[in-house]
């Protein structure tokens, strides 16, 4: 297969790769036997096996998207869809095999769990290897499980919501996901329960030439609230890896969900992820997203505002360096009166990297008094990088307040001169300005992730001067 060009940047801890050890690695490629084997390994109930097989048919019937980044380097025949790590699901880090635990230690997950999280899930390749939640949340009826356990233990709840927010035929990679999904997290927050401390799932893809297809399903019931954090990373290989996760969020009436993500994939990753939220009456979903790594990303979280007075905010930053084509954005459907959406998107591109903000705002005719405000800012660090904004606005009522603001800029020489006159090197000055540009986003992230994001920016800017 074609070798992918990967830039040699030291990504420090993210690039530490373990030996590709596994208990079971699916043969490469995708066909009915592969799907059935995964289903067997998972001990699926019948309805799930049927869903997988139907999804495979849908996958085969759909074409690759004809818009957006070029996906021709992705050959499904070269990708292993299921890699089972040499570990069962554990509830104590002490039971997680040393090699795998070391990876999560380096990423700071057990440490963060002690300090600032109410629960943690950790997935290694295709399986969740650790899952735990604080006792008091358990008592309040909060459910936080790996997806497979949820299928077994909460069959009705899962069956009612699984692939309903994101339909199987949404696009080719959703169908692929539904056919081969493995791992991920399930959260249910009962009516009126406020989870004050965040839950976090971390997805680590170690195995080369493989795919990660985790499924996240979160139901925040009426009047409840939750902050969920998702982290993703992978070490660098010189062959293509694929991430086609799926996130389905149900925010019921008067509920609140904040969904924070830092995706820091290595630069051989095709990140074709799908995330949607259905939002009820007077409920709110806030997305905070940082997209750093990957060779290609196509990621457009969507809020579907179905209930009257539903709200959504999207705060996102995308950083594309050499050889990266990150096509990201936000979609919102205003389906009810008095709904509102606020979008604040930033992108940074350098060394020929390309950032595209691709967005959809749809306001249905019945969505009277909807409000939508979109702001996109791009920063280009040199003359060879790209930044595009492709908004689609479909507004079917006159009774709407809508604003769209887009700015594309470069670092001004005046700012550099000012900072250098205070003794900062040009590199320091640029990093400070880029961090400042990203600040409105990073301040929305949990503090460890804000620090991680600043480190990533510094890492990306190292040696990029001159």
């Amino acid at each position: 297969m074609a070798k992918t060009q990967v830039e040699d940047i030291n990504r420090n801890i993210y690039d530490i790769k373990n030996e590709d050890e596994y208990a079971f690695k699916m043969q490469k490629g995708l066909n009915r036997e592969v799907v059935l084997e995964i289903s067997k390994q998972k001990n699926d109930p019948d309805w799930m096996r049927e869903l997988r097989l139907k999804a495979l048919e849908v996958y085969n019937s759909l074409e690759l998207p004809t818009w957006g980044p070029d996906l021709s380097e992705l050959h499904m025949d070269d990708i292993a869809t299921y890699v089972k790590p040499k570990s069962k699901l554990n509830t104590s880090w002490d039971d997680v095999p040393e090699e795998i635990k070391k990876t999560f230690d380096t990423l700071g997950i057990p440490e963060a769990e002690k300090k600032s999280l109410a629960g943690v899930g950790a997935q290694y390749d295709s399986e969740v290897v650790y899952h735990s939640m604080k006792e008091d949340l358990l008592k309040q009826g909060v459910v936080y499980l790996d997806m497979e356990s949820a299928v077994r233990e909460y069959p009705d709840l899962v069956k009612e919501h699984f692939m309903k927010c994101v339909p199987v035929n949404d696009h080719k990679f959703v169908a692929l996901h539904a056919a081969v999904w493995s791992g991920g997290s399930f959260v249910y927050v009962p009516k009126g329960v406020k989870v004050d401390i965040p839950l976090q799932s971390y997805f680590r893809l170690n195995s080369p030439e493989s795919g990660q297809f985790e499924h996240t399903l979160i139901i925040v019931d009426e009047g409840a609230s939750l902050h969920f954090i998702e982290g993703c990373s992978a070490p660098k290989y010189n062959k293509v890896n694929l991430h086609a996760g799926c996130v389905e969020l149900y925010v019921k009436d008067n509920a609140y969900l904040r969904y924070s993500t830092i995706e820091n994939w290595s630069k051989n990753m095709m990140n074709l992820n799908t995330k949607k939220a259905i939002v009820g009456k007077n409920a709110q979903i806030d997305w905070v997203t940082g997209s750093f790594g990957s060779k290609i990303s196509m990621l457009y979280p969507m809020s579907i505002l179905n209930g009257e007075g539903a709200k959504t905010e999207y705060t996102g930053i995308t950083f594309a360096g050499k050889g990266q084509n990150l096509d990201t954005g936000f979609k919102v459907i205003h389906n009810a009166p008095n709904t509102s959406s606020v979008v604040n998107s930033k992108s940074i591109s350098k060394e020929g990297g390309s950032c595209t903000y691709r967005a959809l705002v749809r306001v249905a005719e019945r969505a009277k008094n909807a409000k939508c405000s979109v702001s996109c800012e791009s920063l280009m660090l040199d003359d060879i990088s790209r930044s595009d904004t492709i908004p689609v606005n479909d507004i079917q009522t006159d009774e709407v307040e809508f604003s769209h603001e887009a700015k594309i800029g470069k670092i001004s020489d005046k700012e550099i001169f000012y900072l250098m006159s205070r003794g900062l090197s040009e590199e320091d000055a640029r990093a400070m300005i880029v961090r400042g540009f990203a600040y409105p986003i990073s301040k929305e992230l949990p503090v460890e992730y804000a620090v991680e994001m600043n480190n990533l920016i510094n890492m990306e800017l190292e040696g990029s001067i001159g």
Binding site: E415, Y418, S421, R422, E426, M432, G436, F437, S442
Partner: protein, 245 residues
Amino acid sequence: MEKLLEIKDLYANVGEKEILKGLNLTINKGEVHVVMGPNGAGKSTLANVIFNNPAYTKVSGSVEFEGENINDLSVDKIAKKGVFMSFQSPEEIPGISTFNFLKFAKGKITDKPVKVFEFKKQVEGFTEELNMNPKLIERNLNVGFSGGEKKKNEILQMLALNPKLAILDETDSGLDVDAIKTVSKGIEMYKNDENAVLIITHNTRILKHLKVDFVHVLVDGRIVKTGMGELATEIEENGYKEYNA
């Protein structure tokens, strides 16, 4: 007397346009100099060229600092030699607090780790002397500061970074009487026998509150007259007409 800055026969351009046309200026330790001149005479260019701002081109001549030619040094290296410039319109930098910025800059300039507690006390003392809202240093550098606050923040940076030569480019413009007094006080606090100040201005207001050693009149890229404090008074009364010919 020990020379700090010596500019010899300096010609400098912005783009293709000649701005400085044979400028000479010597500043010794312990001195306060004022360069005055009408708009467009090259006052701000002078400040920027001393600092080797890449937007300006030195055509010929030299800038020496403590006997060393700094014509081609990068901006940060000149800062590390001990030159400071207070900007006419300071840039707004989001994402870093004024204090953290100062701490970072101090570390870079001195090339030593900053003793945070001590430095903080010192900076807080300066904000008090400058009648600044003490919370200002916790806010992002210059972001949302009023014009007066930005100017005071420049003086604060001068005090905190404690350079050998402070160039104040139109620091007095746009300030009310009280703010001018405060800025003057800041300069008095900074001033000692080992350092020097170069004030660049187009009016004489700030000079009422400061003891000045030399006044230079800059017209059309050249210093056309040098005198003592009374030269400023003379210019205030008569303007620059007599030099324009």
